[in-house]
């Protein structure tokens, strides 16, 4: 299921970014070669970019590509490192859930805001935030599950060594 989710999100990102790029190119082309300007190209491409960002942020999360600092965490022993990174993931999850809740709470207000150049509600673009959050949470959960499993495995594995040395690792 996660495989299909990934494929769908990837497809959406490609389509959105392609349309966005195309709009910018067309905007220049129309202005110089046809002498007309498209009223909605700038706004639409900007809002599409918001979609691209929130969708692709999920993919980046899946790849662990978001910039983070591991220097300190890497100094710890493996078991503590696992715990710490689980804690980091929990914080991340908490933030995403909060953002999801707040952005959904905001949605009804956006229905009435109409973008003048296109005549559609800004709601459709603010929707990117909750959707992006859901995608990020969906990609984050299996990672957390993996971490928990690793911690449990480690606990079982290190039990005999602990008694042998007589002190906690």
């Amino acid at each position: 299921m996660f495989y299909y989710l990934k494929k769908i999100v990837e497809g959406l990102v490609i389509v959105c970014s392609a349309v966005m790029t195309f709009l910018v190119i067309i905007q220049v082309f129309c202005r110089y070669c046809l002498g007309v300007s498209i009223p909605f190209s700038e706004e639409l491409s900007r809002y599409l970019m918001v979609w691209v960002v929130f969708l692709a942020a999920g993919l980046a999360l899946k790849d662990d590509a978001h910039i983070s600092i591991k220097v300190l965490v890497d100094k710890f022993q493996e078991r503590r490192r696992l715990w710490l990174s689980l804690a980091a993931q929990i914080l991340l999850l908490a933030f995403l859930v909060l953002l999801l809740v707040e952005s959904i709470a905001l949605l009804p207000y956006q229905r009435v805001q109409i973008i003048t150049s296109m005549g559609i509600s800004i709601f459709w673009f603010y929707l990117a935030i909750p959707v992006g959050c859901v995608i990020m949470i969906l990609f984050l959960l299996p990672k957390m599950y993996q971490k928990v499993k690793e911690i449990l495995n480690k606990a079982n594995y290190e039990e005999p060594r602990k008694t042998l040395k007589g002190k906690r690792l």
Partner: protein, 429 residues
Amino acid sequence: MILLAICFALTVLLGVPVAFCLGITSVVFILVTHKASLMTIPTLMFGGIDSFPLMAIPLFIMAGFLVQKSGVLPKLVEFADALVGHLPGGLAHVNIVASMFFAGVSGVALADTAAIGSMLIPPMIKEGYDRKFSAVVTAASSIVGPIIPPSVAMIIYAYSAGGTVSVAGLFLSGVIPGIILGLGMMGLTYILSIRRSYPLSEEKFSFLNALKKAKGAVLGLMVPLIILGGILSGMFTPTEAGGVAVAYALITGILITRKLTLKKIASCFLEASKTSAIVFMMLATAKIIAWLLTIYQVPAKLTAMLMMITTNPQIFLIMAMCILLLIGFVLEAVATMIMLVPCFAPVAIAYGIEPHHFGLLFVMTVQIALITPPVALGLFVACRLAKTTIEEVFADIWPFLFLIFGIMILIALCPNVTMWLPRLFGYVP
């Protein structure tokens, strides 16, 4: 305020991605102080990325990927080889010059490192350069990438500085320092190559050969010309220049070199989107922090504090650069910029420093973070390509670090180096 700093430091050190650290910090802050409603968070985040000037970032990244995939890059390397391949330490020079050429196409240093490194590190090792040196040259030379326009870092700076600098002016101010930096590194390589007796190429420099290779490289070298020319003549905005660069790359890739397939194009778009999403998430959450900072008038307070230490703008400049350099040892370039530009840029203006000059120095200093161990993304990529480790190249990186920082201090003290071109085109009074 202190709460902000502590909360941020804790989450960062825990290994939470920086973008979300900024978000978590602001949530905690709002919850504690009750100064604002949590509902402002999504609005601010949306506002932080919903910007036409910022769209230049994905476009330039895309153009860089497309040019790379369309097979223009080997042509640029061949041209560089024809120009400087005959010097002692030939391939190392080729590496630097090719980085400078590619800098005119791509806007990010890491793309530079990966692209040039994968092409030149293997032949360098084969010809008898040691792995450490190959990695170091590749990583160090790619620093010119964000200094020679186009530059994603400069777009981020111009946006974060809130309209006090223009992207075009910043682009122009980077041209000369970028070239100086490249030449400086070539000088250092020259000395090192003679001292360590690195291999000498048998081929002699020939003007005809260079001319022949230039013809192949023209396709790639056109990109910076189109971008800069278009922006300077007022034909299009930097963002539209990004769009034009993508269109140009697509046309050459599909029609002339015929290397681009639909699948490759799609993967370029996807990769570029992912890369920019990482930056944009930081921009989005940094917007909340920036908003909180303005409410508490932090930049004004910071200025007052620094003014008490020194009123000399030059001392302030060097102090700021040292602080940025220190931060660069543990933090990555883009993250540093997004967090600190809103604090530093107003202070620099208060000191009477030309905003473009300060902007360029800021961008340059922050880019050094890519090669300052232990957290050095650029060095890391280059080391992986050269099959060595960051610990091993530790000793080799210092001469380059000193050189770059030395050149930067010089540039800091003579603003004419950076300001001459923008002034010529009237971007700076």
